[in-house]
Amino acid sequence: MLKRLSLVAVLASVVSVTAVSLTACGSSSGTADPGSGAPASGAAAGASSVTVFAAASLTESFTELGRRFESAHPGTKVTFNFGSSATLAQQITQGAPADVFAAASPATMNTVTDAGLAASPTVFVKNTLQIAVPADNPAKVESLKDLTDPKVKVALCAEQVPCGAAAIKALDAAGLKVTPVTLEQDVKATLTKVELGEVDAALVYRTDVIAAAGKVKGIDFPEAAQAVNDYPVAVLTKAPALDLAKGFVDLVLSPQGADVLTKAGFQAP
């Protein structure tokens, strides 16, 4: 298993390296061309590609931001690597050539800052938990307390991943003990179990419930406030496209960025 994972990591870095070197060639030919009007921010570095490693929960909103960034900087390409924050952090510490890292938890960001690969991360959004139930809510779940009913099948994220850690925090805050039938490896897998009706309820992020609108229903619960997940973003110190990276982070932190992220269900920090 591990072999397969590390192979994926290796492939990911190979792909990124290739992407970077390809764009490097492209940019050198670009600078040689006197006619090409380079856009403001990226022009100095001469780079026209920026690689963003972002938590999987940011897939929809960051893809949208990437599109906006590209149209604001013609000729620039934003390449994303979405995945589990922990996996991304490892890939970065193993030398994957990323420019920006947006994590779903401060802990995973710490892995990168501790390695000296990122400085001063900024929390740009927070995400809170919701109870996700199948659209027809077969177990009639209404509150967090309903999840303690042994007849209700509950899926939680594994404690090793951020949504699992958040779920434990929320349940602890509520003083409830839930026995899940499964501890899923990530939030999307957890949500799939709800979508397919294999479980009656799960604790997932609001953003994921919104992304799966129609197939699952989200139920807010007060204890969610005790388990807020902060999303930090940082430009990486070894970023090959430093200026573009700064530009992208600026966009994420801008009101325009906040707008896109709020629509996806994130909350302002």
């Binding site: 591990l2 922990a86 090793q160 501890l183 179990k193």
Partner: protein, 269 residues
Amino acid sequence: MTVRARTRAVTGRTPWPLVVPALAGLAFLVLPLAGLLVRAPWSTLPRQLAEPQVLEALRLSLVTATIATAVCLLLGVPLAWLLARTALPGRRLLRALVTVPLVLPPVVGGVALLLVLGRRGLAGQWLYDTFGVSLPFTTAGVVVAEAFVAMPFLVIAVEGALRGSDQRYEEAAATLGASRWTVFRRVTLPMVAPGVLAGAVLCWARALGEFGATITFAGNFPGRTQTMPLAVYLALETEPDAAIVLSLVLLAVSVIVLAGLRDRWVGSA
């Protein structure tokens, strides 16, 4: 023994166009393992092994892989026989269909299993309504997922062996009064035994390493559905070193089992 000695004498010098790629291939297969060995935090090995969760996952892996192999033998050998020995219409298509689990990404396989055998699945709903049985999130579900992914290895190996075996022996058995079932049991099966064993070994190894379909279909719950690969994957989220140790434990156990099996089988043949 004599045959082997004679072969070696006849072969003489091994031609380098075979040796060079062979060594490269071996290195390609073995080097990642060497990577694991080099990076392994040996000092934490005893502590990891003492963890009850690790032993539980290991035990669960061995038990489910073995049961899955038994299931595959029970269903796969007759299926291979059907493909090799009967003039079924559309046999070519059937053979292609048998390999579907090989091509399908295991996670997709797991979702497909949920769609059929899940609580709301095509057959699963009936199972649940009639018998109150629901396979997901159970150890039986792990076996189902592993068998689904591993069965093609067995079927293909056994079918190949059946096609390669001389059917005239079966005719000879028939003239001696053996029914088709007796022919299969006492002549066909013993004559393709090495092929069946090779298929079972592949099948077992594949089942042991199964991750995607298992975590998707059976979920992840320690002691019930958390096999070693799942434990490794989750450990990777927070404790990569532990993940390496766990993988090595899994590898060591499988190598010991397979090497032991192979020796015994070669010795008896």
